[in-house]
């Protein structure tokens, strides 16, 4: 064949070769279709381990009970028993190493998440004692009178504050 046929063909071959070489350099070796097939599993396998190693912040109440057995037992028989420690005391992270102490949420806002009255008769919310946050001692913190670990008892620390429930 003549030269004018071969020349563009070489150029095309060079371009294709170049694309293939750059592709092998850029695409990681663990990129593939893996378990879920081409449509749903086309990914970099090593990214699964990246997600598996994501740091855990909430270590669950079981870890809290290892050291704070007294507080755990205090809560055990109360109507608040199903509330995990970390919901109010904040996530564990690597406590007691880091942080040394946890930032406890003592605000009204936390209590009224469940205890603000809402008029939905058939929802689970209706089974929880509810108040109107605008009318029920709006300027006081709930823990001034109520003991959060067991709301049936008065708060031993703050009972003398002079506010009657």
């Amino acid at each position: 064949m003549k030269n004018h046929v071969w020349r563009p063909l070489f150029i095309v071959l060079a371009i294709v070769g170049g694309i293939l070489i750059t592709r092998t350099l850029l695409v990681p070796s663990d990129f593939g279709i893996w378990e879920r097939g081409y449509m749903y599993g086309w990914h970099r396998k090593s990214n699964e381990d990246v997600w598996k190693k994501y740091p855990i912040k909430y270590k669950t109440a079981k870890v809290c009970a290892e050291c704070h057995k007294d507080k755990f037992n205090d809560l055990k028989d109360s109507p608040h028993a199903s509330i995990s420690c970390e919901n109010c005391h904040g996530p564990n992270y690597n406590h007691p190493k880091d942080p040394l102490g946890l930032d406890i949420d003592r605000r009204r806002d936390l209590c009224i998440r469940c205890h603000a009255y809402l008029p939905y008769r058939d929802s689970a919310r209706a089974k929880i004692p509810g108040i109107d946050p605008q009318k029920h001692y709006p300027t006081e913190e709930c823990i001034m009178c109520h003991y959060p670990h067991n709301p049936k008892k008065p708060n031993p620390k703050h009972h003398t504050a002079g506010v009657k429930p």
Partner: protein
């Protein structure tokens, strides 16, 4: 000249002959075979939401945001809780201020720019709360539309995003019929619920499941017939969201109602 019998025979042979190599390719892909040999079908995470137990406290949303480092003040969240208030005249009011990050503490319905809507308690026929999260679909449309392979489904059925590979085109955000995807406000890549893949891999439950005091959220392995979540899904009347999209969602709802979308 070809007769009718010969014509039919040859047509069938050609069609059959064409079909064989396609299926053979599917069967003899060595990488696929290897993956299937290594414990496929052992674990498939599914999620169960009990609407009857949810009180709209939003502790799940709080825990999720902190556990997964989703910016606290940005109005985006991997999971959220919707409030449905149906009035006696049939009107459905839905809201989820800040995704229920701070819980539902007022009776007023948040209508964004329109303002707060007050509904008289005597007009309310029913009110309930619906937690929402990624459905970790068996056929995830968000994964199909990704042009670079940055989002994928693991063999446990969890849909994840490869943050270092995502180009931020937003196709998946548009492709999800449930609206669970968004852009990470700091990393500027697609963000979504991972079902706390890091916690599940280490034997813990998802952060929202551990945070829920009422047992309204549960996670389980549908491949394990002894799993209590599997038992409920197989034996009790559960529902899924937007079944008509064909995505085969794997978040099951107990106590769902026709108003839930």
């Amino acid at each position: 000249m070809i007769n009718r019998r010969e014509f039919c025979k040859k047509t069938m042979m050609i069609a059959g002959g064409l079909a064989i190599p396609l299926t053979a390719l599917e069967i003899f892909d060595p990488r696929r075979l290897h993956a299937e040999k290594d414990g496929k079908e052992k674990v498939r995470w599914v999620f169960l939401v009990d609407i009857n137990k949810c009180v709209g406290c939003g502790l799940c949303v709080k825990a999720c945001k902190i556990e997964n480092d989703v910016n606290w003040d940005a109005n985006v969240t991997r999971t959220w809780v919707e409030r449905y208030v149906v009035t006696k005249d049939g009107q459905v009011n839905i809201d989820s201020p800040k995704g229920c990050r701070d819980g539902f503490t007022t009776q007023k319905i948040d209508q964004a720019h329109i303002g707060l809507k007050e509904i008289k308690p005597e007009d309310i026929a029913k009110g309930f709360f619906v937690p929402k999260l990624c459905n970790h679909c068996e056929n995830p449309p968000c994964v199909q539309v990704c042009p670079v392979g940055a989002t994928y489904q693991t063999q446990e059925g969890v849909v994840l995003v490869d943050r270092s590979w995502c180009i931020g085109c937003g196709y998946c955000v548009m492709g999800c019929p449930y609206g669970v995807r968004f852009f990470h406000p700091e990393l500027h890549v697609a963000e979504k619920c991972t079902l706390c893949y890091h916690r599940l891999s280490q034997g813990l439950k998802s952060a929202c499941v551990d945070a829920c005091p009422f047992g309204a959220r549960r996670v389980g392995n549908i491949r394990d017939p002894e799993d209590p979540v599997t038992k409920i899904i197989t034996m009790e009347p559960v529902n899924v969201l937007k079944e008509e999209f064909g995505t085969k969602p794997q978040v099951f709802y107990l106590g769902s109602s026709k108003e839930v979308k």
